[in-house]
Symmetry: C2
Subunit: 595 residues, 2 copies
């Protein structure tokens, strides 16, 4: 096959296009002479100075770029920039999918994650869930095609929203190890478990299935996905371990098992048997709609009247609102106008009328926050601290999208203030001052730790670019008894947790690492922080009093035995009476405590 | 047509999937009972608690997401987040395309940009060039399809690299105004100019051509693109004006005309008649290749031997290097192994052998920097300052990609230090201290202005996330006589220009606003800054001396007349002699200057 006519595939395109190549250069010249004819015969004339491109020769190099090729070359956009981050991203995408599927199917999720080192810089990730499974005909597309999924086109609260994640993880594995993705799935007791081996044809963005067969599997239903990839495993702030720990905090209904590369198993048991309420899908709110989208919707609707269109396709539009909008739009539009026949000019008038009409805010029951109680119990389970507080804000709306903010604070690391009031009203030193959660609460002279969640998914990267961090910085923590440098996070042994739940979380990038700073979102974050901050302030002030009291008392306590001895000497008491006096004095001291 | 069976199109999908809809909910229940059968008959039984989804019902909701839909919903990723930024992004994409096309075709670019306000928050952008034009059959795809282009698959220095920009601008216009894009193009004198009106079918990512016809046009060749969009126009640091001014600096061969919405015309004339050298396309360097990519290349090559494959598909691999690699790989591979028959295991060994083999760095003649001379003349043309310096670093390599860093500094705003040495060696105050370029040079007590370019394109957003800014901050400017707060930019009336030219610029996002901080890139940036910094330091020290000298002299100068008068009184001189003495004294003073 002559080189110049071969299929211009991804890998050989650069060669095909190489203008240094004599054949191609000559070809281009010929074409120019022929005024754009597609004749590829070489003329072989004298070596004239190389001519630059023409519209014709440039046209020949234009071609489609598949979305897989695009994201392979730009994999840093999806969170696969370094081996360390790639491992975290892959685990995250798999766990997100498992949780979404379990919740959608009403199953209490049990997920097992195992990482195995297969070579110096290679790991195999296996994520197994007890979810509803994936039917055979969908496995290829779900795991082997970018931009394919069920969540992109609906407005409902879910972890995934783009249909990219898990396929991108597989694509990264394939790129770095050449190995296919392994999937085992079963959709029910009476169905056979099937095993798939597949890779992605990046030039076509299509799955290539190497193997699919019925296998033995001990699960009644669920999915297992295995990806081998170039990776680095390391514990710490942005590790898989940290991600899983935080996932357990935000998902108290989840039972999570993690087997790390050393073979150690950690289990995060569920702290509730109740699934989060099912998240309801909503229709778009009219105020959030762009003109172009309205025109597309008018074209595609099955409603037979304009009034019907407005009522059926949007939330919060009843017959009266529809009537008023149509009247305000004018341009000869009536409630009975046939939607598909409405031209651009009329649609534009309709769009304007919609923006001007007062329409109630979108329904907010489509959001499922964690809830104050579960957030606190989640924090208690994973973070050892002295004081916990949480606040769930009422739902609000940005750009037509409902969202809800929750804030939790865990304050005072054992061994920090290190005091607790026992059930009997006694102040005791904590026995176990060894903090297993050092990483999450930090020490008293450090800045507060920020734990960010979006739809219950921990966000570990790009903290400073996130509106959650901005909200914390813009809150006045000095008012609550904490130190805070100008333009910085507050100082103290504390973890600040912020969760945003929304039908559409506005991430700043595809890798979903930071929340865009919409004013409405920032405002709600700050209100939530203030709510918790006030309670924290009360506790801190009380804590300071306790501390002073404790210091005073421990000082007196220290001398009570000496007082006893002195009294014994002065009054010539027997040892028994001396001990009685000491006990009485201690008792009086405890009773005189004023808190 | 019953609702449940209609085509699930973008706009109606949310309705189709709405689980609140009784029909759908009942349908789901039926299916569950039937164990996954696709029977859609409603049972209409008693209102049992709503069941959640099954693998079957979930599968029915899975669908493909077109890349246009994806980027419409995520348009902030492409730089279309606000009306202000959208206008800049659209102009930038159109101008980038024009410049790339002109250079590729060897035409000295003349570009005219006109912005017209069409409604309160709407503008029409028209960008017209004298480029090679686009042939009819390509117009639809180039302007109406995302991920289509000629630059993605080749390694060569160009402004565009993704095949998204101009189509995304059109898509944004369509989304916000409903209006199609207008294109006029002509590929040569003997060809007819054609006019196209087109929009993008976002659900399919395909152009919809509304009109294409031959029209009258006064240009011999070129392209005009017109997009109307929701936008805001405003002058300032991140304005269209600023972008164009900076574009003129980095493209001294460009003649640019800008007509702003008020109808005012600004012309930036070209300062050179020479096109930048044509950028050569290169083959990938073997050290930058991932295993998965190597496997794909082996499959797709037309080379008939492994040795031929290595030599033809990669740069810097000659027969000896190929031989050594193949020998090191082992696994029975020989120079004559047939590439398409090499299995994964062997490819993996080959990949390892490639990484271990010493291979010379990729060729760097594929990079076309602006050059020190042209960079300085560009700065002089657009920025009024006292001192200019530029440095073009030798080409270097990151991750197998050649790149080159250039740095320019314009220092000392007229009216700042405000002195200049005249041709006669006299120190004079500048006449015109009104700085037309206030915005670009800043004042003496402000931080330096940073002007960033990537492949000659100005970067106006995300300055703090950019490795250029990091390089400036990490440079010790105090050593060059400037103030610099810890972890901050230097202080002074100056503009620091940094240009990175590369066959693949590693942007941190699709909107191409900041450069990723690869260590090799950061190092080169700092070396370039140091080179300029040292020269600046010499100038500043001299400047400080001049200033001190000037102050002393002006002080003496002030008193010379008084000395004259005193001498006159003491020596009883006539006025003429007194004036002579004064003149002599002034002359002596000027001659005694020591620089």
């Amino acid at each position: 096959m002559p080189r110049a006519t071969k299929r211009p595939s991804a890998a050989t395109q650069s060669l095909f296009d190489n203008e240094n190549d004599d054949t191609v250069a000559r070809k281009t010249r010929t074409k120019k002479k022929a005024g754009g004819a597609a004749d590829a015969k070489g003329t072989g004339g004298s070596p004239a100075p190389r001519k630059r491109a023409t519209a014709q020769s440039m046209a020949e190099r234009q071609r489609e770029i598949s979305v897989s090729e695009f994201f392979t070359k730009n994999r840093h956009l999806l969170g696969f920039d370094s081996p360390l981050k790639a491992l975290l991203t892959a685990v995250k995408e798999a766990v997100d999918n498992s949780l979404d599927a379990c919740e959608e199917a009403g199953i209490l999720p049990e997920i097992r994650i195992a990482l195995t080192q297969t070579a110096e810089n290679r790991y195999r990730m296996a994520v197994e869930d007890n979810g509803p499974g994936v039917i055979d005909s969908q496995i290829g597309k779900i795991f082997g095609k970018l931009l394919y999924g069920s969540k992109f086109h609906k407005l409902s609260q879910s972890r995934g929203q783009q249909g990219i994640g898990i396929s991108a993880a597989g694509m990264y594995g394939q790129l770095t190890t050449g190995k296919p993705v392994r999937i085992v799935s079963r959709t029910g007791k009476r169905k056979d478990p099937v095993e798939f081996l597949l890779s992605i044809d990046t030039a076509k963005n299509k799955p290539e299935i190497h193997k699919s067969e019925v296998v033995e599997w001990d699960k009644d239903h669920g999915t297992l996905v295995e990806i081998e990839m170039e990776a680095r495993y390391q514990k710490g702030q942005r590790s898989v371990d940290m991600y899983l720990k935080q996932t357990a905090i935000a998902n108290p209904h989840l039972t999570l098992t993690f087997v790390d590369p050393a073979g150690e198993e950690v289990v995060y048991p569920a702290s509730t048997k109740e699934l989060p309420p099912e998240t309801i899908e909503i229709r778009p709110h009219p105020h959030g709609i762009e003109l172009g989208r309205l025109i597309a919707m008018l074209k595609e609707t099955t409603a037979r009247s304009l009034s019907g269109f407005l009522r059926e396709e949007f939330s919060r539009v009843g017959p009266m609102v529809a009537k008023r909008i149509i009247k305000a739009a004018g341009k000869g539009l009536t409630e009975k106008s046939y939607p598909t026949r409405i031209a651009r000019e009329e649609a534009s008038a309709l769009h304007e009328a919609i923006q001007k009409e007062k329409i109630s805010s979108p329904p907010t029951d489509c959001i499922a926050p964690i809830g104050e109680e579960l957030l606190i119990s989640g924090l208690k389970k994973e973070l050892e601290a002295d004081f916990y507080v949480a606040a769930t804000r009422p739902a609000a709306v940005y750009r037509g999208n409902p969202f809800q903010i929750e804030v939790g604070i865990a304050y005072g690391k054992p061994g920090g203030i290190g005091l607790e009031v026992t059930d009997e009203g006694r102040i005791a030193k904590r026995k176990d001052s060894k903090a297993a959660t050092e990483d999450l609460v930090g020490s008293a002279d450090e800045t507060a730790r920020v734990i960010r969640f979006a739809n219950r998914v921990p966000l570990l990267y790009q903290q400073s670019a996130c509106s959650i961090t901005k909200g914390i910085i813009q809150t006045n923590w000095r008012g609550y008894g904490l130190q805070q440098p100008r333009g910085g996070l507050p100082i103290g042994a504390m973890a600040i947790v912020v969760h945003i739940a929304s039908v559409w979380v506005p991430f700043t990038s595809e890798s979903k690492e930071a929340i865009a700073a919409y004013p409405e979102i920032l405002k709600e974050i700050k209100l939530g922080l203030q709510e918790c901050g006030r309670k924290l302030g009360t506790y801190i002030r009380k804590g300071k009093r306790i501390k002073r009291e404790f210091e005073k008392r421990s000082y007196i306590e220290k001398y009570i035995p000496h007082i006893g001895i002195a009294l014994q000497e002065i009054l010539d008491l027997p040892d028994r009476e001396r001990d009685e006096v000491v006990a009485t004095l201690e008792d009086v001291l405890h009773k005189s405590r004023k808190f």
